[in-house]
């Protein structure tokens, strides 16, 4: 066995030796964790209880929470099926499929032809806002309402506060969309352990690591997004080889195509359809689509505002003619993912189907034809993503210290910066495994230039205008030099959540700018803070109490982490270092029991500083141990 496993066992034994009776936060204590599938159409929360994964139902026994939020003139917004029922009668205040708007500017949303459904505020803010009876709301706030509902459900069912959650996102989500999702979680008061890509979560749920080594495909067609991921599995490691997709293609588009056909057949003028009627048409389209899974033909009807009823018939051939072009688009992405992974269809072991839209027999048929195999549909396609997220959350929160599972994901779209003439210079190509860090050097082009503007974009096209603008920032204070003399190193780092941070440094003068990347289509930190304060005053929660609680949680985490590290590898420390760390530990223990969040924060930072070198040495030792252990294993 690899040596690091041995190390871990040693760690646990040592921990047992030092744990004291009555210690409340013992490392082996089961912590509450959940996996959340924040879907376009429906959302879901799941958890691991007594070794089994279960999705959690509401009081009425419903597992799926419709991702619909209805704002009311007074009181808290309504979330779920109640809200969905009001979609036709109160369309302007009832927001569905908000996932489509996450991390998007108003112009993008209108391109997707869905802006007419809501009363978008025409403002200068880069973040679109929808006008409702309860005031203006941003997509992040709408998503936060859905997350709050799931949090409440989980905490009521499990009888305690959630330590952490894993939230899933489409693999093809760009940085802005991921950041928006994380912001929504923060607003909902959730501690996000990881943003996990939906297809990877599905692969985990299928337990593909158990037994079936090889290359697997996850085909995920949801209500509003499409993802394809190709993974290689080996001894518990899920290595994503490539991913492709479309964040604006899903079952909703099937409904829209069918809806347009219905309206056309009924002889309705597409331009004069009211918001309420549009919803009614889509609901009828969705009903017909689902009915055609079993029937060859289905009767359809529409009722206009004058109460006149149109009746017609939709058969499978017509349905296929309407949706085949959309399915074909997904297959183009499949082809590209195969090529990027450098594998052929013959090498694929199996194809896992995820997302409600893969219930469509036509989708299964076409995907099966493309990959030359029968797609796997064993797990309910609506629940599979939340299930995988729950398994990962259980591991990340520390409930299964011996688990060997490891997920290695990739960035879906290339990251680059704008250069002269509006061209994109790619810094990190798509399908690079994350975390990743890349540095690039730039220089000034004018004599005495003291500032440099950097524009970060994401996408595959050559022109900046064809890519997504992620952020703009400036490095200032460069000492005046001749053109071309300055050496400015810009470092991009993408973490395991797929989130980007950028730093810039002038190499000769050492002028550094750890840049605050302000997302082009995101909320600023101060906006989020204001929303948090706002939401807390609604909930009558004391802001100070919450800040104290947050610092205490963080203090407990670092105390536990450093103490167990000393117990395991204390011999790596010199006597002086040990004294310094012990003093910082003692101080943090004292401050943690006080009531001043600022003091706790300072003590945390002091302990972090005192233990950084130690942490580096431990990591080094564990990697070396892993390499040595493997040599024995390989031969």
């Amino acid at each position: 066995m690899p040596a690091h496993k041995h190390t871990r066992k040693r760690q646990l034994m040592a921990l047992l030796q030092i744990s004291e009776p009555g210690q409340t936060d013992a490392p082996h204590q089961h912590k509450l964790a959940a996996g959340i599938d924040l879907g376009t159409t429906n959302s879901l929360v799941a958890t691991v209880r007594s070794g089994k994964v279960e999705t959690l139902p509401d009081a009425k026994g419903q597992h799926l929470l419709p991702s619909v939020v209805r704002y009311l003139a007074a009181g808290a917004p309504q979330v779920g099926s109640g809200a969905r029922q009001a979609a036709v009668s109160d369309p302007r205040n009832t927001i569905s499929s908000v996932k489509r708007f996450m991390g998007r500017g108003l112009a993008d949303i209108c391109k997707g032809c869905s802006c007419s459904e809501y009363d978008f505020v025409d403002s200068d803010s880069s973040v679109p806002r929808i006008r409702t009876v309860a005031g203006e709301v941003s997509p992040v706030e709408v998503s936060a309402e859905i997350l709050k509902e799931l949090k409440r459900r989980a905490e009521e069912t499990l009888g305690g506060e959630l330590t952490g959650v894993v939230i899933t996102v489409p693999a093809y989500f760009d940085d802005a969309q991921r950041q928006a999702t994380k912001d929504a979680a923060q607003l909902a008061g959730l501690n996000v352990l990881r943003l996990l890509n939906e297809p990877t979560a599905a692969a985990v749920a299928y337990g593909l690591d158990k037994g079936s080594e090889g290359i697997h495909v996850v085909y995920d067609l949801g209500g509003g997004t499409f993802d394809i991921s190709i993974l290689r599995l080996n001894r518990g490691v899920f290595e994503v080889m490539s991913t492709a997709g479309n964040t604006a293609l899903g079952g909703d588009d099937f409904d829209r195509a069918i809806g347009q056909w219905l309206a056309h057949e009924a002889g309705w003028d597409q331009d004069s359809i009211s918001a309420g009627q549009a919803r009614a048409i889509l609901q009828e389209a969705c009903r017909a689509k689902e009915a055609l899974s079993d029937a060859e033909s289905v009767s359809v009807s529409l009722c206009n505002e004058a109460g006149e009823v149109w009746q017609g018939e939709l058969n499978r051939d017509t349905l296929y003619a309407l949706i085949d072009p959309l399915i074909q688009k997904t297959l183009v992405s499949c082809r590209r993912a195969l090529r990027d992974a450098g594998v052929t269809v013959e090498e694929i072991e199996d194809v896992v189907m995820v997302g409600g839209s893969t219930r469509s027999p036509r989708v299964r048929e076409r995907v099966g034809e493309f990959f030359h195999c029968e797609p796997m549909v064993d797990i309910d396609p609506d629940k599979v993503v939340a299930t995988g997220a729950a398994i990962q959350a259980d591991i990340l929160v520390g409930n299964k210290p011996d688990d060997e599972m490891l997920l290695l994901d990739v960035i879906p779209l290339s990251l680059g910066i704008e250069t002269m003439g509006g061209l994109v210079e790619k810094i990190i190509p798509r399908n690079t495994t994350i975390p990743v860090a890349k540095a690039q050097d730039f220089t000034t082009f004018k004599d005495g230039q003291t500032a440099l503007a950097v524009h970060v974009v994401q996408g595959e096209r050559e022109l900046v205008s064809d890519c997504r603008s992620l952020a703009r920032f400036e490095l200032r204070g460069i000492p005046p030099m001749a053109a071309g003399a300055a050496r400015i190193r810009v470092t991009f780092q993408v973490d395991a959540d797929g989130l980007l941070s950028v730093t810039a440094r002038e190499q000769l003068s050492g002028v550094e700018s750890t840049v605050q990347v302000k997302p082009s289509f995101g909320l600023s930190d101060s906006e989020i803070e204001a929303m948090l304060r706002d939401s807390m005053s609604h909930a009558e929660e004391d802001v100070a109490a919450r800040m104290l609680r947050e610092q205490q949680v963080e203090a407990d985490r670092i105390l536990e982490s450093v103490e167990s590290a000393i117990a395991a590898d204390g011999e790596l420390l010199t006597a002086d270092e040990r004294t310094a760390i012990d003093a910082a530990l003692k101080d943090l223990h004292e401050k943690r029991n006080g009531t001043d969040p600022r003091q706790i924060k300072q003590a945390i930072e002091a302990l972090n500083r005192a233990s950084t070198d130690f942490a580096a040495r431990r990591m080094d030792a564990s990697i070396q141990a892993a390499m040595t252990g493997h040599k024995v294993d390989e031969f």
């Binding site: 690899p2 690091h4 952490g164 352990l193 990881r194 080996n234 001894r235 490691v237 290595e239 183009v332 082809r335 590209r336 090529r339 591991i395 990340l396 929160v397 520390g398 060997e404 490891l406 997920l407 290695l408 690079t432 495994t433 994350i434 975390p435 990743v436 860090a437 890349k438 780092q493 973490d495 395991a496 985490r557 670092i558 536990e560 982490s561 450093v562 945390i604 302990l607 972090n608 500083r609 233990s611 950084t612 942490a615 580096a616 990591m619 080094d620 564990s622 990697i623 070396q624 141990a625 892993a626 390499m627 040595t628 252990g629 493997h630 040599k631 294993d633 390989e634």
Partner: protein, 180 residues
């Protein structure tokens, strides 16, 4: 030497000999083991400093693996370790190579007009792969020899391979266009 030391070379990181010939299976296995030790998911509950360190280390392991598993990147990296710099702005090549490249480009431009463009493109991709394999075999031999002349020749072969790399990218872009 410390493996986490950012100045250590990528071969040392995986405890592999510095050589163009590489045991791909051992590399992949060691990569996975290294990530098991360093990946941020193993530090989800750790202190901030440790989590930051883990992101940096995991990023370095990923970069090392990306470079070492790809023959062109590995060759280029080996040349750098041996102090041979590649200048991307240098476009001087022997005339035979330039003629061949021009012909390949003309052929790529004609693909779109052929009866079955995707088929023609695939045939072209195969031909490119064949020529690159020949160059890679040359590179492997040249990098084994330690003398200056071989290293300079290895540099030229690497530059040619980069030319092919750009052509590969154009083939892929065209494939995307044709499929869409």
């Amino acid at each position: 030497m410390s493996v986490a030391d950012l100045s250590s070379n990528f071969f040392a990181l995986f405890d592999l000999p510095v050589s163009f010939d590489i045991d791909q299976q051992a590399l992949a296995a060691r990569y996975r083991e290294a990530q098991r030790a360093a990946h941020p998911d193993k530090f989800a509950n750790a202190a901030e400093a440790e989590r930051r360190l883990s992101v940096q280390m995991a990023a370095r392991i990923n970069e090392a693996y990306r470079i070492l598993k790809d023959p062109l990147l590995r060759g280029r990296y080996l040349l750098e370790l041996k102090g041979v710099e590649l200048d991307d702005t240098d476009t001087a090549f022997d005339s035979t190579f330039l003629m061949e490249q021009m012909e390949l480009r003309e052929r790529l431009a004609e693909v779109e007009r052929s009866a079955d463009p995707l088929q023609a493109l695939q045939a072209m991709a195969h031909e490119l792969a064949r020529q690159q394999d020949l160059l890679l075999a040359q590179l492997a031999d040249l990098l084994k020899a330690e003398d200056e002349q071989s290293l300079q020749q290895a540099r030229e072969v690497t530059r040619k391979l980069q030319f092919f790399q750009r052509l590969n990218e154009e083939v892929e872009a065209l494939e995307d266009e044709l499929a869409a």
